[in-house]
Subunit: 333 residues, 2 copies
Amino acid sequence: MASSPPLDEFARIARFFAPLAAPGGLKLLDDAALLAGPAGFQYVLTADAIVEGIHFRPDDPPATVAQKLLRVNLSDLAAKGAVPVGYLLTTALPPAHDEAWLAEFARGLAADQKRYRIGLLGGDSTATSGPAVLSLTAIGRVAKGRALLRAKAKPGDRVFVSGTLGDAALGLAVLRGDLPDLDALNLGTGGRDFLVRRYRLPEPRLELGRRLIGAAHAAADISDGLVADLGHICKASHLGAMIDASLLPLSRPARALIGAAPERRHLALTSGDDYELVFAAPAAARRRLLALGKSLGVPVTEIGRLDKGKGVRIRDAAGREITLDRSGYRHFG
Amino acid sequence: MASSPPLDEFARIARFFAPLAAPGGLKLLDDAALLAGPAGFQYVLTADAIVEGIHFRPDDPPATVAQKLLRVNLSDLAAKGAVPVGYLLTTALPPAHDEAWLAEFARGLAADQKRYRIGLLGGDSTATSGPAVLSLTAIGRVAKGRALLRAKAKPGDRVFVSGTLGDAALGLAVLRGDLPDLDALNLGTGGRDFLVRRYRLPEPRLELGRRLIGAAHAAADISDGLVADLGHICKASHLGAMIDASLLPLSRPARALIGAAPERRHLALTSGDDYELVFAAPAAARRRLLALGKSLGVPVTEIGRLDKGKGVRIRDAAGREITLDRSGYRHFG
């Protein structure tokens, strides 16, 4: 085994951790677990960690680091249609993160606790000689038996996404100075700030997720990239997907950057960190879903369909199939 | 603030995180939260992280690292009298922890899942360039309103502890080669192995904790040292404690090591990692508690009493008060 190439995180989880899953753990296919709750309810539990230098940048403001940590977990609750209840937090911090850093970090949490009407339930605080590792377990609740799962998509379902895709990866590219044509494109500070904000402060689609119950068959949040996360729905539902690259919803700044360098389009397909929802619903629900998006101020866009088959295929505006050389974006580490 | 000396973890939690606590978070005074469960039950949630080089040694076997991680969390459930239900796990691992390491780590989890009849509910797996940071959220359940809390001790209550104290710290000292007289004392490999095992594989006192419901008023597990953890009960219950150092229960190997160097006795008072229970119960419950310990094969020892006052005081066999220069053991980092 030592001579094999290293497994990626999905393969590691599948090989070593999935065999350990409890019945409520949904075979670890759903990034969330279900637990019996008070009469008529189930709890949804999810845990995600973020690491400095991988999931956030050392120079990100501590308040937005805290908010990103909380929100990436709330995004998993959104994908289940759950209402947030509370969270537990463990922090492993290097000495450089002093009390001033921690005060700002706590300020970010306090702001989001108000925003999402939740509180801290417990946790642990320790030191590390390495980069900061922040881990959070979020708890939500959902009407019994009604949680959106990845495994319930049906052949013929249409694929929808919320919001716009690729923004977070472009925001990271802005911060890294990886876009030499940025000044020439004249996005304005508004355009830059929008992209950076999308990287630092994802918006968990909680209200949309909650309202997808009864309308969508399956949902996931886009944390590993559209192709990878739709792939999780395909795998769990034993279906294949065909999506139209030309239908991917793009923000105005993303459209400008992709217009200038079309190879950037792959970011909308494969980059993580957007934390939008991808979901499967019958064609008959289309009108209702688009209206729902409008009422919430969150664009909902149909981008493809699911059928018998395997994996995610992509075609361009001319109907030609596109091949990707990687199925997901592994952050900038 | 930048010019103040760094706060310890307790002070950091009190200053920055306690103000964020939800009602179910028990002001973060209990290392656990309560959440409404199915009819007649409450869930107990707790989260603890362990960091390589602080809470475990790089050369500890991966299987026992996994088991220690799980067990330190189960120990918090034990202190509440809760029955374990399941857990979520996040791992941040350096590249040196390859698939062989992970396979052993998963094997340790599998063994303990069987032992404690629980399963994995979810989690996350990521990389770090620093030491391994392992975080776990454990979920237990307890009859509604019956969880043992730290805040319910009463004046006149006696202080009891389970098992023996100081073993884990001595086990760590064995591993570090910090006991120059070890060979001369002739503990045998059995004595050494016992101490090392106490360091690597704590035994969460789940059955004892469960049976303390209705008998004890308050309980905590000893993860930060007897004085610190009894201090948490004192603080939460607004009481003070007086304990007799001469009554502390010691294992045979610990007794030999302390006999040879009496200054080691402070380890039984202040060292963490024993994961025994300290609890407060009325004097009238003494006989029942000692019998309970006997029936479970876990020694239960009365070591002091609680009264109006503040903090933990210690006296020696002659009744003279002992002063400690530190109230808790901060692990070997």
